[in-house]
Amino acid sequence: MSIALFTVLVWLCSLLAGGLGALTGLGGGVVMVPLLTLAFGVNIHYAIGASLISVIGTSSATAIAYVREGFSNIRVGMVLEIATTLGAICGAWIGGWIDPGTIAVIFGFVLLFSIAFRGPAENNVSDRRPVDRITRALKLDGSFPVAGTRQPYVVRNVPGGFVLMYVAGILSGLLGIGSGAVKVLAMDRAMKLPFKVSTTTSNFMIGVTAAASAGIYLSRGYIDPGLAMPVVLGVLPGALIGARLLPKLGTPLLRRLFALVLLALAIQMIAKGLWGGI
């Protein structure tokens, strides 16, 4: 295949992946790595490097929408970012040492988890227990807009959330994904933050986490401009268009279809990782 044709094909796939990722809330990076390795035969290190950059771009480009809504809690985000950046650096390190097949298998299982992951677990707001010590020391409580007024909420289990965020960071650095699902899991389930606060704070954190591992990928030579270019230029506008279409489209069917595609990719990643071909 010539570079020109390859660039156009990867660009089209990235555009589609970015759009569907935003529409279904599953993220674009999670599709790009398996697609590049399985369909285009790209080495997994290059694929992860390119995907990381597109994850950073999407996070920064969509930040403005989240900030306008006034949901994200920068304090919670910043405390947890110590965990995610440390994890991301460790993940990028690990990725340099273990073999590509193992990375593919881990990727497959994380993909299965993202598909299985569903929205909010419970109503986190109606929690009246006293605030724990760490939350008070770190001044973590906040409020978020509900019908014109601000509804206060408390933050629970900071150590538990911290550990989960470290894991999210490792996965992000190892696999080149935003690992938004694990981040939301940490904040929604472990720390009992309102779902909307979890998802928007997660957006803020995803870019910082990915940047922490991107530096290591860059200095290791895992970021190839010829490959990253069509991926970034595709995923970014795709995600922006997808986010704009989101309120207009009913997404359950789309989500189910996209989940099926991801399921097929996950199984292939695991199979090829185990029996060779990555």
Binding site: M1, S2, I3, A4, F6, T7, G41, N43, H45, Y46, I53, I56, G57, S59, S60, A63, I64, V67, G70, N73, R75, M78, V79, E81, I82, T85, L86, I89, A92, K139, G142, F144, R150, V197, F204, G207, V208, A210, A211, A212, S213, A214, G215, I216, L218, S219, R220, G221, Y222, I223, D224, P225, G226, L227, A228, M229, P230, V232, L233, L236
Partner: protein
């Protein structure tokens, strides 16, 4: 700004305006990065578009695409791949700017605990970007 209030959602318009300013800054960064990448892409495809693709074997990038100063030098000489790499670097830098702006805001609010937390994140980011951890 009320002392130590920035960073908590819903604590006044000032913090909110700062957040908006930061996100405008981020968007400008993304735009500059996109322009650089598109310009580099045109040059790259013009010169190398007809060559075959070899991404199946991992070789690592040549030294001139790995370091910050080397990428800068390449981009100035208007190499397509160098320009793209510079665009990607600008993109990678956008979250760093976000953290830096947060640090300054916590400093302005006199919030020493959060200034410390934010600086820790910033140091980790810069250490990774300058290749001290590779």
């Amino acid at each position: 700004m009320e002392q130590g209030s920035w960073g908590q959602p819903g604590t006044g318009n000032k913090g909110r305006n700062l957040d908006l300013l930061i996100s405008h800054l981020l968007r400008a960064g993304v735009m500059v990065a996109t322009l650089l990448t598109v310009a580099g892409a045109c040059l790259y495809l013009l010169h190398h578009g007809g060559q075959p693709v070899t991404y199946d074997i991992f070789r690592g990038e040549p030294p001139d695409l790995k370091g910050l100063s080397a990428v800068w030098h390449d981009a100035l000489s208007l190499s397509g791949r160098g320009l793209i790499q510079l665009g990607l670097l600008v993109l990678i830098a956008t979250p760093v700017v976000r953290v830096l702006a947060s640090a300054m805001a916590f400093m302005a609010a006199g919030d020493r605990l959060y200034l410390l937390i934010t600086m820790a994140v910033l140091v980790l980011l810069l250490a990774s970007l300058f290749g001290w951890l590779g």
